[in-house]
Symmetry: C2
Subunit: 337 residues, 2 copies
């Protein structure tokens, strides 16, 4: 940490850093609460995610990208529910040795993403703790009444799609932490891109309308594709079969992922923030067309099936053996609800 130590002054933090981020209904943060007037015919979708240093980001990550990650993991949830972002509230726990440059860069990250995703700060709270930062964001989105897409709701026969590609964030984290293993052979030129995917997720907001219009169920993939798919089927009372050969792996990892062990690590690694969607067979063409119009790649990776219990994933004609099915942030367990 360099520059002036923050020594968080209650008025300074608001005046210098947070007030410029405040949107309509936040009253310039001159009030104790925000007002939100939903448009007639809409329902609100509410989600909250907390991220902490050493668990969801590395203490030395750039504050600009920590802010982006804090906001984007929430926007990713909204996108998967078919919702458009409206606003967010943020609680920020900072350690007193943090310098003001850190907070300035953090708020620049928020400002950039507020503009990129059309979302405003509605309110917040800033506290001092010994070991920070911890960032808790509650994001609010809107859907047309009845339009929210749930994690449950899929039926046997529905086709499973995933957006984008899987694994980049898992590899990026391995590179950042110096984890030994197959990651050693990732070429230098590919490393920055993988690290960037760990630090700055890409919420698939462009897919929200396609999900809302055509999916029977959807969720974002934050704790590993297979483990999150387990959660989807558990909430639905069915199972799923995934075709490993169709799971889209990040291009920089395609060679490495030919090894089943690497592939297994990628499909059970965290922080992809892609959308997993179940689509009824007769809606598949429309879903694929809508995703295409939105400019977001989607891959057909399997289907929901009758039965119960964890999903199976086949590769090269064999059921893949997965030691871990889901990624556990910080190694202690974590749960998005």
């Amino acid at each position: 940490m360099k520059g002036q130590a923050l020594a968080l002054n209650e008025l300074d933090v608001i005046d210098r850093f947070l007030r410029p981020l405040a949107g309509e209904g936040a009253f310039g943060l001159f009030d104790d609460a925000a007002r939100l007037t939903p448009s007639p015919g809409t329902e609100l979708v509410l989600t909250t995610d907390m991220i902490a240093a050493g668990i969801h980001f590395l203490p030395d990550d750039p504050p600009f990208t920590i802010a982006q990650k804090a906001l984007r993991v929430n926007i990713s949830d909204l996108a998967a529910k078919g919702a458009d972002p409206v606003g967010y509230l943020m609680s920020l726990a900072l350690s007193p040795d943090l310098d003001s440059g850190w907070l300035e860069a953090f708020c620049l990250g928020l400002a950039a993403d507020q503009a990129a995703f059309g979302i405003d700060l509605l309110g917040g709270d800033t506290i001092s703790i010994r070991q920070g930062p911890v960032v808790s964001i509650t994001a609010i989105g809107a859907v047309p009444a009845g339009g929210m897409v749930h994690r449950f709701g899929g039926r046997p026969g529905d086709v499973l799609f995933v957006s984008g590609a899987i694994g980049a964030a898992r590899a990026g984290l391995a590179l950042l932490t110096g984890e030994r293993g197959p990651w050693d052979s990732i070429p230098a030129g590919a490393r920055d891109g993988l690290v960037a995917r760990y630090r700055v997720p890409e919420p698939r907001l462009g897919l929200a309308e396609a999900v809302r219009s055509h999916a029977s169920a959807a969720m974002d993939v934050s704790d590993g594709l297979v483990g999150d798919c387990d959660k989807m089927v558990a909430s639905t009372g069915c199972s799923a079969r995934l075709d490993g050969d169709r799971v889209p792996v990040d291009a920089a990892l395609a060679g490495l992922a030919e090894d089943d062990r690497v592939f297994a690590a990628l499909v059970s690694g965290g922080d992809d923030y892609e959308i997993l969607a179940a689509v009824p067979p007769d809606a598949v063409p429309a879903f694929v067309a809508a995703a295409g119009e939105a400019g977001i790649a989607v891959s057909r990776i399997g289907a929901l099936v009758e039965g119960a219990g964890p999903v199976t994933i086949e590769r090269n004609g064999r059921i893949l053996d997965l030691r871990a099915r889901a990624y556990v942030h910080g190694g202690q367990g974590e749960r998005h609800v």
Copy 2:
């Protein structure tokens, strides 16, 4: 900590502890987000407050009361805005050495207060951090359209009221931390009551309708009566005069508070969670009557005045000398917005 170490399992925490708290729109926490359909003609009021061990509560405080405090500091904000509670989202950062009995008692505290205040859990996130607990709650309330009461909006001449009594929480904290000073002379029989006021605030939800109907401005008193009154006038562009002889001090502290230094500590101490309201002169009788009907004591303690700058507080004919005007949680600064 005793009993079984928590070692937070993602499914267990939800299944055993949080799912029973989920309200309508939370889908039994089987989804990634909650749905909220505001009643026609209402607006939502949103507030967020984060509390941390060692800053807003003591690590050894009973988990039942920590939960109550986390929820009540937010409900207090809703009450001061004239809003009725609807629901809340909670992010919980726990250290892995916490035992399951702690979390069980914490959730019992939430359940008790959900019933007491008519508010349901809508969603949440649980993470593991090295030093916890940190609890961040975003609470949502509803007001009839246009009914939200702001911190700003008062005018010179408006009468200032405060609910209940001031100082009990400040004294309770001093007793809990073994702070030396005048607190030593508090009789044993009064101590538990003061400690309880620090641990378990009493949000003045019963006053919400009176505030909504008659106040020009209101806020809850969380960081000291004088300092919070400073914030009210700063947001309004006026000043205020408080009559120290009329400020209601907790009955157990009445004798001690005859000393100006003790009185000064009480009116600048934190965690009162009373409501400070500005009421136009012609609305005073109706406000007092409405508070009486609600069964909540309110005291007329001063008035907003022309001018700018910090409020003055007179006692025994002299302007009180305040070294600190506001309470700084954890000694590092804190801000509710």
